[in-house]
Symmetry: D2
């Protein structure tokens, strides 16, 4: 189970450890809970740890790891971070060693596990990757790795972009809907597969193309081989990668993320105009969208909210009182910018709405005459089952509320969301080929007992 | 010795520990090496530690600290961080307890120390604060605290904004040139003095006014008392606070920092126009200046460089090779934004120039047709002796090079700095009242053997 | 692979976590590298960690663990300690959860692993316990746990005393040769199985009896059930448990360890008399033997060597020079005791001989007139393959040297070892029922390619 | 304030850091809370830390420290260990640098501090060493170091053995009563002064003689110079050093500690005979005394109590319940030794009596027919003000109870303490020259408001 994660695979003529390390640093925004690297050195050897890449992977341990092929992983989780969750997961089987780094969620993982246990498999972690590995090892007898993967793909439901190792061979695999991103590149001494193109950039490499939905690619120091193992009628690319999750400088499925974000702002401006003096982005998530909004609306942009960059992810509040001051500490309005102004706030999305309410109140306190809120994604009304962590339905501000009710809740003078039509237009992928589950409630893959499954994923063996 | 630092003092009707903690979080950008809080509780009691505020000050220790008056400090240093450097420094004297939190540098500290040692004082830390404390305790016999402070001010040369405690009384003190910032505010149950107004904001308080150069202010839960102890003909406000160091949302000496930065960009645009398609800020330091440049030049602004926010201050490179990729990992161009464009890069300053060179090269690699560099401060040609850490003269790219030589060094198509006239105009303070030492080589206070003294400050007792 | 280890299993009417914790503290001498506890709480839950029991198992984690049945483990290893090595090892199988805590070595573990992998099992740790668990889960289909254990016992070669859990049921299992100790006791609210009787003592419980070689015992809060699953013609109790490894206050296979050690000293005195003024034990390992030697020889005992109890297991020498002074720092002669005396040194064994040489030299330096060395075990000439860590053959001082050569090597005036006959007489178990492999080179179980296997055990997957 | 501590000073022709490190390891039993080393290297430089020597002083820091003269310290404290308490304390004065390592307690420290503060001195730590340093620096003007020390000795009351540095010169100083031990030795490249002779042994050096009460000794690489600065009519050597605190292999004031302990046992046997079958020592504190008791009484000695060496000083009990089992975990009777026997327990002292009660009960539970307790020191009826930590008077079992009452309290069949006469005879120093304060209530130095002062020492500035 890997809510959001980053994966990378490299095959090279030289030791790949440093290149994987650099790639993981570039993918750090996809997961900050844990990190790991596996390489082939007469069997698959790994180092893993908890925290950011440079906390999890220590120099002295990195120095011991050597191999010309390998994979890496950065881990994101809603649950508390424990060393056991770090990937790649490694399995020693009768046919060879398998290592798996996963971005996505196998929604029928529990069923697969029960089935595999009935067949005689024993689970140590109980993870989705363990199920995948056992599906592979079961079917690999006498067959090629590709055929084994094809068999496993038929069994697994859900989203997955995998970096895989089978002994010293390395692969990238993307689910047939192409839900999570995965791309291919050329680097100095070999080839790379990674969640986002920024990992290729960080190594000074060249982007070749995206891994196709349903495609398995084997990379070697000298080239790559493609196996189209599965095909669905439609794609189901996660639209949220474009809106928020991927880095702005990435290119996903041929589309430049920054451009999408700017265009989202432009369309938002035309769909939801506002009588404003200035456009103020929520830093840093809303900035690209705000540029577009400003450009299209001709309302000048200004940095009216300053971010305290030291209030970090790992920040633990020493008291309830300080917790209440948290938004204030994280974002402070610039009085000279907002005072007396009609402010148009632009952000990528609203999930629970509590932070947005505090921002609106702060801006009013600093003298903003009006506060208009414009959001570059449609209202989130349902949870995501395929990868990006979102809260339970009941916690979503847009679940069971209409726009006017949400506006009141966040105390804005006006509120506008982009339409689904506007969203798909900005991305440039037709609606049928996107996963819009969280804004439509309709999922590309059938999810049985969805709320139940959502819970199951949270309660696990320790 | 406190290159850059943040100080805070609070007097309240209730326990001040949490409020000081919040204020220090808001001042975190002024120092990330160490932090400390001292309060009065039947004598002055302290907790201090190494690292960011939430690393240095642990919840269980904070819970033990109680007092209705106190001071706090965040510490920045060029040298390695050791617990002994954490402030406030506390001294138990015959007349009472003294605690000192310091931002600035006492340039004649070594002379004072020698003089005080000859007089019979013994030094444990050998710090500037120790000298100040002994000057105070020597002169306090039979005199008021104010008179003792006045005496000490006459002896001390250099820059200082102090948060002070004398037993349960708390004070703010600013040197007669007003080199470093210090301001006064009202909070819910009392009064606050802090390095920047953002600390007052973070507590939901109201900014009252700046502490005047040469002024000592005592705060109580119910009000404040001012003592004008010293006056210089001119001020010497550090211009770099406006250009780079203070937070954009702060107001210093009556002037809004964000506004200054935007104006710097505007004037820069008129002084150093560029034939560009887009204005690209170096995130985050150059953003406000870039807004101004874009506005005045009508060249549209675009986020052509993306910052990897996880490559942090504490980042330790596991190998030389990864170190070389560092700029690439920290800043990645957005191809869709820069490709085929004439790019105008805007930043606040250039110190050594090595990073700027790498950015220019990266932009070219990603297809920028031209790269013009515009800098919102004049060339830095001399070190700073009064507070902000700058490198030795020999490492400054602008020391001994003309503009054309610097341009070649950084491989830009054109290079323009703002003029000193433009700088002072943007700040709105007349030249005579600013410290422009690092861009003119002329310092408001005579510094004997300047390079020597600079060295001395680095080699200290452990 | 568990060179030396301690295991415990408890079934109780109340939460067993604290009782297991206390038992592990009592067994701490059997392993200081790692520790762990598993309990049944709607599935098997565990906590494990690296270091001594009170380092590895933190209070806040212990508080979260609850269950009326559970097992525990303390781990000893020649190799570097890593979290993955901590036991109990837990496996989730189609028939239920299995937890294993192991003391001993399965010598055909590599063969079993290969066989199980060929059968379709995948290994994550590659441990001996993983092999055992998969043997169990394979054979448990439709069969009782006892039958599955019997099947596994037939497959496994080597030494093992296991504490086992199958879902909420807890068991103790001892190999058919009874190589490693295991005993049964009654505690306040239930029953306990542990490596040594001292664990029962620590809980204020009553020793019932040893687990028989080849016996599986299931304990419940109200009693215990025995299954005799396998029988060998002879036993192969490890004699070294009596000589050195077990705690002196333990009772193993009906024999009090302290009594054996004293008797060893007595027999040693008669077999290897010495012309001495005083008997000096090597603290603390040789003390009980020295009492016996003194008693039988009528030579008075004296504490002529003082141990520095702070130079601990975890001690890391900051320099080569200090390392050379190590023995001197750990053991210092008492001049008033040894000066001018003919000293008889008594210890339990000599492995490499380097420490003994330094002790003899030290005693001479402090004025001992003669130094006679008497050893309460026969010369160690071969490695141990079944549990207690001993060095490679080439490093054993007694391998390839006769007594006179060893004497010269350690610079003693005379040297005497107990005979094998004396050893067995002191223990009171007939020679056929002891494992004397390391002093005879003849092992109770055939070990193929013994040196090779020894190496294999050291190089493992990480 | 240094309840129990160890000090060392070395002057050498080569770098002394490693030798001081080794000496501190040998003195580790005198303090486990903190450790530090100061050397002269163009000014006094130090490293200090919390914990055992090898925890407090890290290799990488040790490598940076270089100097041919230096001092070291191991710290023991009743209060919680904090880095600020670590010694040596270093003071930079007008005449030079002073470093102080202290074993003992200055009983008039608070008065001295007040007096020095009135004189204009400022205290940072408020420590006894700070007072001593300021006394020195005040009187050193124009005078020799020896004269300054003499002046300070006149002002200071209490016990002290100091290792001192004045710039690169190193000294040992012992109070005029000789309360705490201090001795002089020759090592390979220079001279050493240390709390106990075992530090000299550890370096392979030669013991020369004790530092005399009232004597200051300066050591150089080539020799030593003595200054007899003060003389008292009587000595006041702490008798407890012989009974318990010093290591058995030390020689203090010309007397071998092990010999004293054995003799204490012999005299105890004659004064307090017992009808016993075996003499059982409390390990390890009572062992030497037990040897003497056994020898004189002809009752054979046996190790009837086994110590769990892993239940260490730093052990933190995870629950109250485990705390109650603590004695049981630390000491376990050997059934085969004590069952059916009349046991004579020998220990060095009884302070609170709670542990002794539990031991007696345990022995009875394991079948001891009788338990006779014999103690090798007189009843402790009063606190110690000069160095060794003892509990408040109210917690001492012998304060306000007669022997029969104590016997009942600890549940023994009989109880016997050695007499004061027996004690002094065993030590071989006449009564007038010993400090017997804790067993007589009469102190060699007048202590004003003794209980009050005792409290004051515990509550200090943080």
């Amino acid at each position: 189970m890997n809510e959001k994660c980053g994966v990378v695979a490299i095959a090279s003529n030289k030791n790949v450890v440093e290149d994987i390390y650099v790639a993981l640093l570039a993918l750090q925004h996809r997961g900050q809970e844990a990190a790991g690297i596996s390489v082939y050195d007469d069997g698959i050897k790994s180092i893993k740890g908890v925290g950011l890449v440079n906390e999890a992977l220590k120099k002295d341990e990195l120095d011991l790891l050597k191999g010309n092929s390998g994979i890496g992983h950065v881990y994101y989780s809603v649950t508390i971070s424990i060393p056991e969750n770090a990937q790649p997961s490694v399995f020693h089987t009768g046919i060879g060693d398998i290592a798996i780094a996963h971005n996505g969620i196998i929604t029928n993982s529990e069923d697969l596990k029960q089935e595999l246990m009935r067949k005689g498999h024993n689970f140590i972690q109980g993870s989705e990757e363990e199920s995948f590995a056992y599906l592979l090892s079961d079917s690999m007898k006498g067959k090629s790795f590709e055929k084994a993967v094809k068999y496993a793909m038929k069994k697994m439901k859900g989203s997955y972009s995998f970096a895989l190792m089978f002994n010293n061979k390395v692969y990238g695999l993307r689910d047939a809907f192409g839900i999570k991103p995965l791309c291919l590149g050329k680097i100095k001494d070999g080839y790379i597969i990674a969640s986002e193109s920024v990992a290729i950039d960080a190594l000074g490499g060249e982007f070749i193309r995206d891994v196709e939905p349903g495609e398995l690619i084997e990379i070697t120091p000298d080239g790559y081989k493609s196996y189209m193992l599965m095909k669905e009628k439609y794609k189901a690319h996660c639209f949220f990668e474009y809106v928020y999750f991927a880095r702005s400088d990435s290119v996903i499925d041929g589309i430049e993320v920054y451009k999408v974000r700017q265009k989202l702002g432009e369309i938002l401006a035309s769909e939801q105009p506002a009588d404003g003096d200035i456009v103020v982005p929520i830093p840093d998530s809303g900035r690209a969208h705000a540029y577009g909004y400003s450009k299209a609306s001709k309302i000048p942009m200004a940095e009216g909210l300053m971010k305290n960059r030291y209030i970090a992810r790992t920040f633990i509040m020493p008291s309830q009182k300080i917790r209440e001051k948290f938004v204030r500490l994280k974002l402070n309005p610039v009085k000279s910018v907002v005072e007396g102004k009609k402010v148009v706030i632009v952000d990528d999305s609203i999930v629970r709405g509590t932070t947005m309410r505090k921002i609106v109140d702060l801006l009013r306190y600093y003298g903003a005459k009006k506060v208009h809120v414009r959001i570059a994604s449609p209202p989130i009304i349902a949870p995501c089952y395929f990868g990006i962590d979102m809260t339970e339905r009941s916690q979503l501000i847009a679940s069971g509320r209409n726009i006017e009710e949400i506006r009141k809740e966040i105390n804005a003078d006006s509120l506008g969301y982009i339409s689904i039509k506007g969203l798909t237009e900005a991305i440039g992928i037709k609606k049928e080929d996107l996963c819009l589950g969280c804004v439509t409630g309709k999922y590309p893959i059938k999810v049985d007992n969805e709320e139940l499954r959502f819970q199951e994923r949270i309660e696990k063996w320790r």
